[in-house]
């Protein structure tokens, strides 16, 4: 899922986002709560209407931003206490508030407010507290949720890197029977091995017929490995953010279009890519963008960033589409192997975390 933080996927129109094949994108409750604010959302009739988006929306709870953006935030049992970034006045975000705001946004999938800690947090007691508090907050969220008939509230599994704590949290959360389940607190700088273990541990305990959403995951390798470990949904700002830095995601790795070597490269951003930027010019909807043109305007005109955003979002969605097709065709291991062989021309440079994680689910990257 691409991330449209402030109700707009950076620079591209909802129509262009639709053309990348996107049907579910993410808005941030924290940002929408500050701008345009709940009154406006209520008056306008929700975020779909605000941004003219005909498809699905997912909103986070705002808890992660409290921790990632605001150094001065403090978590109490009541909620997250922080200083308003606008005027510095003390504010409090409770699970009830988060729900009320997400009800106003009208997102199709909403997330519970959770107590987020960096996974590398050294204090075990604090970690346990965060996990248990997240469970209590889920109960408060379920109670405060006004539209369970049309908005799906997902719980978020916490517990840091402690697998036992994660298991405990899984059991508690699953018992509350939310329509979907998220694995939270990851992508905060933990070792990839640990990340994989947490995902694998959680997916093992989760019911089959509920979507599993790993929050904040975005590199192509992470998506593929997490899919192999049994996760279903992901979100990350990385593809769109890196586009604005002039980087194109391709199956052979990330290319920085600002490099001089692309100044006279008149090929598409990625050969064989089917996105509106790269598809052959004689096809419907093709723009006919060359690497040279992106290089020419990278960091100079925003249009270059918009074009790379379209390409990168398409790439990520297409990658997951390929994984789905492979699973249906019962060829998923082959898909994973091909993915890694494209990304790393030399087998020796395969990341060991991916090799090990995939081994646990019976995919051997070195087997031909």
């Amino acid at each position: 899922m691409p991330v449209a933080t402030q109700a707009s996927l950076k620079g591209i129109t909802p129509e262009q986002l639709e053309s990348t094949g996107c049907r579910l994108c993410l808005n941030n409750t924290y940002h929408l709560g500050l701008k345009p604010g709940q009154e406006v959302l209520d008056a306008v009739g929700g975020a779909h209407k605000l941004q003219g988006w005909k498809h699905n929306l997912l909103t986070d709870s705002g808890g992660f931003q409290m921790v990632s953006l605001l150094k001065l935030a403090k978590v109490t049992e009541e909620g997250v206490r922080f200083l308003s970034p606008h005027d510095g006045s003390p504010m409090l975000l409770t699970p009830e508030h988060s729900m009320s705001l997400q009800n106003s946004i009208g997102s199709d999938i909403m997330m519970q407010l959770d107590d987020v800690l960096v996974t590398t947090h050294p204090d075990k007691a604090r970690m346990r507290e965060a996990m248990e508090r997240s469970v209590r907050w889920l109960d408060r969220c379920i109670k405060a949720h006004k539209h369970p008939d049309r908005q799906n509230l997902f719980c978020i599994i916490q517990g840091g890197l402690d697998l036992e704590m994660r298991r405990e949290c899984c059991r508690e959360m699953v018992a509350r029977d939310t329509p979907g389940i998220a694995i939270g607190g990851l992508s905060g700088g933990e070792a990839k091995d640990d990340f994989c273990k947490v995902v694998a541990t959680c997916t093992e305990l989760l019911p089959e017929l509920k979507p599993r959403y790993v929050m904040g995951i975005g590199y192509p390798e992470d998506l593929v490995v997490s899919t192999a470990l049994g996760a279903d949904m992901f979100d990350c700002v990385w593809p769109t953010r890196t586009a604005r830095f002039g980087n194109a995601i391709t199956k052979h790795g990330v290319l920085n279009m600002k490099k001089e070597q692309y100044a006279k490269d008149f090929g598409p951003i990625e050969d064989g890519c089917g996105c509106p930027c790269c598809r052959p010019v004689d096809q419907e909807g093709a723009i006919g963008v060359t690497r040279a043109f992106v290089h020419h305007n990278s960091a100079k005109e925003t249009v270059a960033a918009h074009l790379l955003t379209i390409h990168n979002v398409w790439y990520q969605l297409h990658l997951m589409g390929g994984a789905r097709d492979a699973i249906i065709a019962d060829k998923f291991p082959a898909f994973v192997k091909e993915f890694f062989s494209n990304l790393y021309p030399d087998r020796k440079s395969y990341p060991s975390w991916a090799v090990n994680a995939l081994k646990t689910v019976g995919i051997d990257l070195f087997e031909s």
């Binding site: 003219g52 109490t76 009541e78 909620g79 060359t290 020419h296 005109e301 918009h306 379209i310």
Partner: protein, 542 residues
């Protein structure tokens, strides 16, 4: 022109359908290039920056921007990065299956006419000045010289539909001295001679030449204009149009206005305005002087400023109940007068908070653009306020659509003979200038402008500054300040907390900075908190 011979040397045709007003006035025409969109004139072309219409991706240009042509400046493509001083500009090597490298490089749809000039519009004045060999241009890596030879080569390589030969211009606001003006005319005359030889004598170029008409008095450039006229008389193919830098010269060169019939053969040529009019009133004035195609920098300026243009041609009729509801004596005295009506704004500031919950289209005059039909003011207001790039994109699409329908209505009026009256009403009904807009602009780039002196206001807000805007010294001072602020805030919290009488959660949260109690306090009940905003301010708890 193409009908004259068996093998037309240029693929462009321009027919004048009607010259509406006597005395060299506004005219109705049609410009056609084979394989391009037909352009009914008067009309406008999009203005690009580095080959793109700012904020609008090429697919949206084709789908949503009502423009049939674009102007591109060579100076946007020929920078020499410091580490790669010797490389030739990449654009010259663009492969193009349709032999339109300029379109191919910029991904501009091939249906769109391209005009290539040397400088951006408006151009930054170069401190180096021009020489007899060529002009000085401003690239994203600094000033550099472009000789006439280089320019001709570039034009032949890039193969635009229309090319504007080099002109010796100062790009300053003040009028040049007569000595300078004379040199401008002489140099431009020399350069055009070379141009015609290189382009049409030595080679059989298909590119349509729009020769510059300089922004100096007629008496200074009559010799140059005479040459244009003669060359065109001997071979119509060498000259397809005029690039006019000063609309007030049109009466001098059109045969119907002056006594002389000297330039009669220049009359049927399309006139492209490089005059950068700053509002639609100026457009109307230049148009009634006989301008055909406009380049309008005010479009992007308005979009960047968060302005949705809102004018229509003719202006909307005055509200019917207006005269009766106000003073009856006034309406009785001057029933036909449109003076008491308040002037209408040319644009609406979309960044104004008054639009924050408005589900209206950007402007209410039945605009059919993508922005008006799929989005509303509340979204654009939110985007501008959040500095999301999409806000400017939507405004560009809307503003181009407004101007496109403005020109369409003008053409209609010219066809049915009501132009003069409607133009008069327009001048009376609308404010003289486009509002400046309070919204924050997108980031300005180095090639957009050049500072021209000391004490100039910075174009961009600094991206970061010292914490809380003060604190001296380096890291140390900054850290101290930060710590202090936290403590201050915590103190504030504590005081408020004591005042409000609730203790527990907040107090303990303050005492142990990282830790909070495991079990909620019995008195704490989040339910009774006001459900307003993202989270309520603590003061409200009282």
């Amino acid at each position: 022109m193409s009908s004259d011979g068996q093998q037309p040397t240029t693929t462009m045709t321009f027919e004048l359908l009607k010259t509406a007003i006597k005395d060299g006035g506004a005219r109705l025409g049609r410009l056609t290039f084979s394989g391009r969109r037909t352009v009914d004139t008067p009309n406008f072309f999009g203005l690009t920056s580095r080959g793109v219409i700012p904020h609008v991706t090429p697919d949206n240009v084709e789908k949503h921007l009502h423009t049939n042509g674009t102007y591109m400046a060579l100076e946007d493509f020929i920078e020499r990065p410091q580490q790669y001083m010797t490389r030739s500009p990449p654009i010259y090597e663009t492969p193009s299956p349709v032999n339109k490298p300029l379109n191919s490089f910029t991904a501009m749809p091939s249906s769109i006419i391209t005009v290539l000039g040397s400088r951006r519009l408006p151009a930054v004045c170069s401190p180096m000045g021009n020489t007899n060999q060529g002009i000085s241009v401003f690239t994203s890596t600094g000033f550099q010289a472009v000789t006439t030879k280089e320019y001709i080569n570039a034009v032949q390589t890039l193969n635009p539909d229309i090319a504007i030969p080099l002109a010796d211009l100062t790009h300053k606001t003040n009028t040049p001295t007569s000595k300078r003006a004379l040199r401008m005319a002489e140099r431009t005359d020399d350069w055009i001679k070379e141009w015609f030889t290189e382009m049409y004598t030595k080679k059989d170029s298909k590119i349509a030449t729009f020769a510059p008409v300089l922004p100096i008095s007629y008496s200074m450039q009559w010799e140059y204009l005479e040459r244009l006229s003669e060359e065109h008389a001997s071979n119509p193919a060498v000259l397809s149009g005029l690039a006019v830098y000063d609309a007030d010269l049109i009466p001098d060169i059109s045969s119907s206005s002056s006594s002389s019939n000297k330039y009669k053969n220049l009359d049927p040529l399309p006139r492209l305005a490089l005059t950068a009019p700053s509002n639609p009133h100026q457009v109307l004035r230049q148009l009634s002087l006989g301008m055909d195609i406009f380049l309008l920098p005010f479009l992007s300026t308005a979009s960047d400023a968060g302005i949705a243009l809102s004018f229509t041609f003719p202006p909307p009729p005055p509200p019917p109940n207006n005269p009766t509801s106000t003073s009856t004596s006034e309406s009785a005295a001057a029933p036909e007068s449109d003076l008491p009506l308040p002037l209408l704004p040319l644009g609406i500031d979309m960044s104004s908070p008054s639009h924050s919950v408005s589900l209206l289209p950007l402007t209410t005059n039945s605009c059919t653009c993508y922005a008006c039909t799929t989005h509303h003011r509340a979204f654009v207001q939110h985007l501008l306020c959040a500095r999301e790039m999409l806000g400017w994109t939507l405004l560009q699409i809307h503003n181009h659509a407004v101007v496109a329908s403005f020109f369409a209505a003008i053409r209609e009026a010219l066809a049915d003979g009501t132009f003069e009256e409607k133009a008069r009403l327009f001048a009376l009904r609308y404010e003289p200038e486009i509002p400046s807009g309070l919204g924050e602009r997108p980031r300005a780039r180095g090639y957009h402008f050049k500072s021209e002196g000391p004490n100039e206001v910075k174009k961009n807000k600094p991206a970061w500054s010292k914490f809380e805007g003060e604190g001296e010294g380096g890291e140390q001072g900054k850290e101290e300040k930060k710590e202090k602020t936290v403590e201050e805030k915590v103190d504030e919290l504590r005081i408020q907390d004591e005042q409000s009488g609730t203790t527990s959660a907040l107090a303990s949260g303050v005492d142990s900075v990282a830790e909070t109690p495991l079990v909620p306090d019995e008195n704490a009940d989040a339910k009774d908190l006001e459900e307003k905003g993202f989270a309520e301010t603590v003061e409200e708890k009282k």
